[in-house]
């Protein structure tokens, strides 16, 4: 089972779990007092995490390029949509 632990996938998992725990340890709003800034940061972090899940766990990194472009386009659209709807009250 040791080979299970020595891969890029494992590194990505550790990094994602680490970021999740770290942002929790920094407090609900990541220690940022301004609700809007904190919200945008939280949304951006979640999208970065999603991109790692896509590229490494879902193997988009080694997939044909069109797939990566499509998922990146979705991520960008989702990010713009969520952040703008969040900020425009």
């Amino acid at each position: 089972m040791t080979e299970l632990l020595q891969t890029r996938t494992t590194a990505v998992w550790a990094a994602l779990a680490g970021v999740t725990v770290l942002s929790w340890a920094m407090g609900s709003g990541m220690g940022i007092s301004d609700v809007e800034t904190a919200g945008v940061v939280i949304l951006l972090i979640s999208l970065v995490k999603v991109r790692f899940v896509l590229s490494d766990f879902m193997e988009v990194r080694t997939a044909p390029l069109w797939l990566g472009r499509a998922t990146d386009a979705w991520l960008a659209a989702l990010g713009i949509m969520m952040i703008s709807r969040f900020l425009i009250g």
């Binding site: 779990a17 609900s28 709003g29 940022i32 766990f57 988009v60």
Partner: protein, 205 residues
């Protein structure tokens, strides 16, 4: 890929040549994934849209959530995804025994996720926060509920994947189905990552 040493494989995959690029699973599963991503994006938009009309109410209701339980579930989801990704790699190297263990471990994570969710929901209902309490709790229960349907379907898929890899050598189409099933499970993980941010975190400071 079978002949490649496991420890060096990630590095060679790091500089993929054009002819080696291959779609995980098959194109059809990616249509499904894309369709589901678009539907959930609509759900995420609706949440923020309703939230914008009652920011104070949403923030007040959100304060009743236990973020530790949400965090625990996020870690369970990430771990299950990691196990599934590792299982697929083992399956590709004809290590069905290890792959089956990974997939069953992921099902274990999924079961733990469901237990945490049940405890969380039970506590909220006991406190009087039900799915008809207010708009925030409507989204809280419905979004997580729709996600939970995916968890249940995905667990079934993972169990059949474990049964498949345990049976000696994989045929080409079985390898493809394993990858498709794994891709679906990662979708369940990534949707939860966004849901966790929206339901538990956004709006707090």
């Amino acid at each position: 890929m079978t002949a490649v040493d496991v420890r060096t494989a990630p590095d060679t995959a790091g500089q993929p040549e054009r002819h080696r690029r291959k779609i995980p699973g098959e194109v059809g599963i990616w249509m499904f994934i894309g369709g589901d991503m678009i539907s959930f994006s609509f759900l995420f938009f609706l949440f923020l849209h309703y939230r914008a009309n009652d920011t104070a109410g949403f923030t007040a209701s959100q304060a009743h959530l236990d973020q530790n339980l949400g965090l625990l579930n996020t870690l369970l989801m990430l771990t299950s995804s990691w196990l599934v990704a590792s299982g697929v790699r083992f399956a590709a190297r004809q290590r069905g025994d290890l792959a089956a263990r990974c997939f069953l471990g992921a099902v274990g994570c999924a079961a733990a996720f469901a237990v945490v969710k049940a405890v969380e929901w039970g506590g909220k209902v006991a406190d009087g926060h039900t799915m008809s309490s207010d708009e925030f709790f409507m989204f809280y229960y419905c979004c997580a509920g729709i996600h939970m349907i995916h968890v249940v379907i995905g667990s079934g898929v993972l169990l059949s994947m474990a049964a498949t890899v345990r049976r000696s050598k994989l045929a080409g189409n079985e390898q493809r189905n394993i990858e498709s099933g794994a891709t679906f499970w990662h979708l369940v993980d990534l949707l939860w990552i966004v849901l966790f941010a929206l339901l538990y975190l956004v709006g707090q400071s």
